[in-house]
């Protein structure tokens, strides 16, 4: 069993973070939050979590630093190309039947997945009728997403993924290279609303045709996963689509009955008619 004192300190630290700043990580999956907190403690040079907590409560610059460790997400453009190919081939034909569309990328992090959807929708001629909502709890992540700048050494993977997903253009059409970075075209953000939103504490904000939340809920415990999936269920119009990460599923959720498998192996679900 893990160190009892460390357990207590972690619980207190997460409680302090919630009570003082309303960031609620109390129901995150324990093992990975513990790992991230240990990284934060060690890299910032604190002897223990109590020392870290003292600074969190009394130093103004501590919160963003700690959140930087707790909210880091790693993704790629067109991650799991077969997923995006399925969106293109199986979901887009349904979306075409709507005169206007709302797509919510929940937990958008640095924006890789958001841009994948915008590019895909542009290639499929749907961008002009779509409003994209990109939400995250981290201001830094939202700022990075709205900058749309990625290191050039990641572009090869992004390009391969885009091609493998059935991309109809060249990814290089969408960015310019500068100083070792790829700067994605501003026009990709014309129809994007970036917004601070927490799946833990916030509510529904619109009726969506597609909600994409990939590799976010693996960081939640079961209760919190239930809350988030309930939120998605309430946000989707009937027959709307929910996309999860390739290793996530609704099998253990209270709300499993609200959804039908649409493409099971890609973890794309469809909201049932009520």
């Amino acid at each position: 069993m893990s160190d009892i004192i460390e357990d207590i300190e972690i619980r207190l630290l997460l409680e302090a973070l919630y009570q003082r700043f309303h960031y609620d990580f109390r129901d995150y999956a324990q093992a990975s939050i513990r790992r991230r907190l240990r990284q934060a403690r060690d890299q910032m040079g604190f002897a223990n979590f109590s020392a870290l907590q003292e600074h969190l409560l009394h130093d103004d610059d501590m919160l963003p630093r700690l959140l930087g460790y707790l909210t880091v997400q790693v993704s790629e453009m067109f991650r799991d190309p077969s997923f995006f190919r399925t969106i293109r081939e199986k979901v887009v034909p349904h979306l075409r039947t709507y005169p206007s569309l709302k797509l919510w990328v929940a937990g958008c992090s640095a924006g890789e997945e958001l841009y994948s959807y915008v590019i895909l929708f542009r290639e499929e001629g749907l961008e002009d009728r779509t409003l994209f909502y990109a939400t995250d709890i981290s201001e830094e992540a939202l700022a990075a997403a709205s900058r749309g700048i990625y290191s050039l050494d990641r572009i090869r993977t992004f390009t391969e993924n885009h091609r493998a997903s059935g991309g109809k253009s060249s990814l290089s059409d969408y960015y310019t290279s500068a100083y070792g970075n790829a700067v994605f075209d501003k026009s990709l953000r014309d129809r994007v609303v970036f917004s601070d939103h927490s799946l833990v504490t916030d509510a529904v904000f619109g009726e969506m045709q597609l909600v994409s939340c990939r590799n976010v809920m693996i960081y939640f415990n079961r209760d919190l996963q239930d809350r988030a999936i309930g939120l998605f269920s309430d946000s989707l119009m009937r027959n709307g689509f929910l996309a999860l990460g390739s290793k996530e599923n609704l099998r253990f959720s209270r709300h499993a009955d609200a959804f039908a498998d649409f493409v099971r192996e890609e973890k794309i679900y469809q909201r049932r008619e009520q």
């Binding site: 069993m1 893990s2 093992a31 990975s32 513990r34 790992r35 790693v74 693996i218």
Partner: protein, 191 residues
């Protein structure tokens, strides 16, 4: 192990993993009393390869771990390509797509450190062949938590870096050949 019964076996392997695991996993009976959690370094685009490969050879159930599922006795779980696998204190498994550790995702360190937290002294950690230092810190964490640390004999390993680094980080680990590891597991985890 201080006479306490194990709740899980965790295994990490890299280069040469398939051959090494092929000498251990098929030896375990279908009613092996604890779950076996395994990280093998393979590229993220190799989908679902390990589980079907080993299911064909093994008596235990073999599957790719899913997020939030309970770790069951008699079952071998492989970390999915592209995801870290972590053991939770409540006996379930969770996944993460956090950054790579030592260029690896899944990472042996991540699994082993979480297993040390979740199972304390009631876990057996085994480092097999591999050409990088992933797993060394994790094995040390298991040793420090009072768990049982085992390393494949570097002299017989396909790639000796991983076992040697693990021994450096956790000098009290027991060194065994693959055949000895299988026999040891059957002895300390009687069905």
């Amino acid at each position: 192990m201080n006479g306490v019964s194990p709740r899980a076996v965790v295994i990490g392997a890299s280069a040469g993993a398939l051959q090494a695991l092929s000498q251990i996993l098929p030896e375990l009976p279908s009613d092996f009393p604890v779950p076996v959690l395994i990280v093998v370094h393979i590229p993220a685009d190799r989908r679902n390869m390990l589980a079907p490969l080993f299911q064909a050879k093994c008596r235990m159930l073999v599957r790719e771990a899913e997020d939030k599922e309970p770790a069951m006795a008699g079952t071998i779980y492989f970390a999915p390509p592209g995801y870290h696998l972590l053991a939770e204190a409540d006996g379930t498994l969770s996944l993460s797509s956090d950054e790579e550790v030592l260029y690896s995702r899944p990472s042996v360190d991540v699994l082993f450190e979480s297993a040390a937290d979740a199972y304390g002294s009631n876990v057996i950690g085994i480092i097999l062949t591999g050409a990088n230092p992933d797993g060394a810190q994790g094995l040390r964490a298991i040793g420090e938590a009072g768990g049982s640390a085992i390393v494949e004999d570097p002299a017989g390993a396909y790639a000796d870096t991983m076992p040697e680094e693990a021994l450096k980080a956790c000098p009290t680990a027991q060194v065994m050949t693959l055949g000895e590891i299988a026999a040891h597991l059957l002895k300390v985890c009687p069905a």
